[in-house]
């Protein structure tokens, strides 16, 4: 595992800072529709794949920044990311079509699944398939982490804050709200000192 990670870190940064200035609402609709329809087990992996790798609208750094803002704002982080990216590239109309692309189809699918479930109950075969898929989905999230970890500045403060967030939530399982409430002020202070 560590060898895979170190190779990723060593890969040269070949992305320029800004790729596009403005996109049509239809383009935004289509892209967020793509993200959401492949988004089994969380949209994070697919959002990065589409926005950073395929369309090249965002760099890895910008992606993590939007994700961070999305986590700070109330509401689902994935939806916040959709609104922020839609608004940046397409204004009000872009934000609206991005949200419709992101939410529209899953809305119908989840209700369809609910209706099927009421009629047929849970099939063991389907449940086993879902269990297998959820392992892959969890691994995809780890791969996303391995890709974006390279945007961390090579200084001890950000690295320490990332490590503390991981240990507090991932190992000690402390409530997220307390962890962010404690770490965010420290992180802002560190970023404030580094702002130049």
């Amino acid at each position: 595992m560590s060898s895979v990670l170190s190779k990723v870190k060593l890969r040269p940064m070949n992305q320029t800072e800004v790729h596009v200035a403005r996109l049509s609402p239809y383009q935004l609709f289509l892209t967020f529709l793509r993200i959401t329809t492949s988004g089994f087990g969380g949209a994070m992996f697919w959002a990065r794949r589409q926005l950073v790798e395929k369309e090249r609208w965002l760099t890895d750094r910008e992606f993590v920044e939007y994700l961070s803002l999305g986590q700070l704002l109330p509401g689902p982080p994935g939806l916040n990311l959709t609104v922020l990216v839609g608004y940046r590239f397409g204004g009000w109309a872009g934000a609206l079509t991005a949200v419709v692309g992101f939410v529209g189809l899953p809305f119908l699918v989840v209700i369809g699944m609910g209706a099927l479930y009421q009629h047929y109950g849970a099939q063991p075969m389907v449940q086993r398939a879902l269990a297998g898929m959820s392992i892959v989905a969890a691994a995809l999230l780890f791969a996303t982490f391995a890709r974006v970890v390279k945007v961390l500045p090579r200084r001890w403060q950000p690295l320490l804050i990332a490590a503390l967030a991981f240990v507090a939530v991932g190992v000690l399982r402390w409530p997220l709200i307390w962890v962010i409430g404690t770490l965010a002020p420290l992180a802002f202070l560190a970023a404030w000192k580094e702002r130049l």
Partner: protein, 175 residues
């Protein structure tokens, strides 16, 4: 479901999403308290089954609210519970987006973005390891996770195939 109860549920959800910093799972316990314990609108088993079903569907994971709304009051319930997510989320995100657009170099937004980046990355690692541990039941599950990570980082295979492999391995009882 009576119209008054539905309106009350909509307003309660609206308030909940306004304070749901950190994602849809943070307010799940409060939904459980409101729907199952306080108002007996859903049974405990129904609540868990609807949540699991929504997690299995493609798309964002706040769809559990949509599905519970549908269970309680059909299309009206599903629409209202979804609007309760969309309205506050879009309002706050658009406000921030406008601020970011009109003052792209505002120190405060940049400090927030730069400052939160390490936390977001640390939490991403935490979520993925928690999830991998929660869904893995034997060494073959961990092997599947490891192979998936290697395939994503080293090859350009479409990850949908990896999900299909996972589904197959699950059906065959391998993982």
């Amino acid at each position: 479901m009576a119209r008054g109860d539905l309106v009350a549920l909509f307003l309660h959800s609206l308030a909940l999403w306004c304070i749901s910093v950190g994602g849809p799972s943070t307010i799940l316990p409060e939904f459980h308290r409101y729907l199952v314990q306080a108002n007996q609108l859903l049974t405990n088993v129904q609540f868990v089954e609807l949540y699991t079903l929504a997690q299995a569907a493609p798309g964002p994971n706040f769809m559990y609210a949509t599905l519970m709304g549908w269970q309680l009051a059909g299309w009206t319930g599903a629409t209202l519970m979804t609007l309760a997510v969309l309205l506050p989320t879009m309002t706050f995100a658009l406000m921030l987006g406008r601020m970011n657009q009109s003052h792209p170099n505002a120190t405060i937004v940049n400090v927030i973005k730069r400052g939160l980046t390490p936390i977001t990355i640390g939490l991403m690692l935490a979520s993925s390891t928690i999830l991998i541990r929660a869904v893995s039941h034997n060494w073959r599950s961990y092997l599947l996770a490891l192979l998936t990570i290697a395939a994503v980082l080293r090859t350009s295979w479409n990850p949908l195939w990896l999900l299909a492999v996972g589904a197959l391995a699950g059906m065959l009882g391998v993982v």
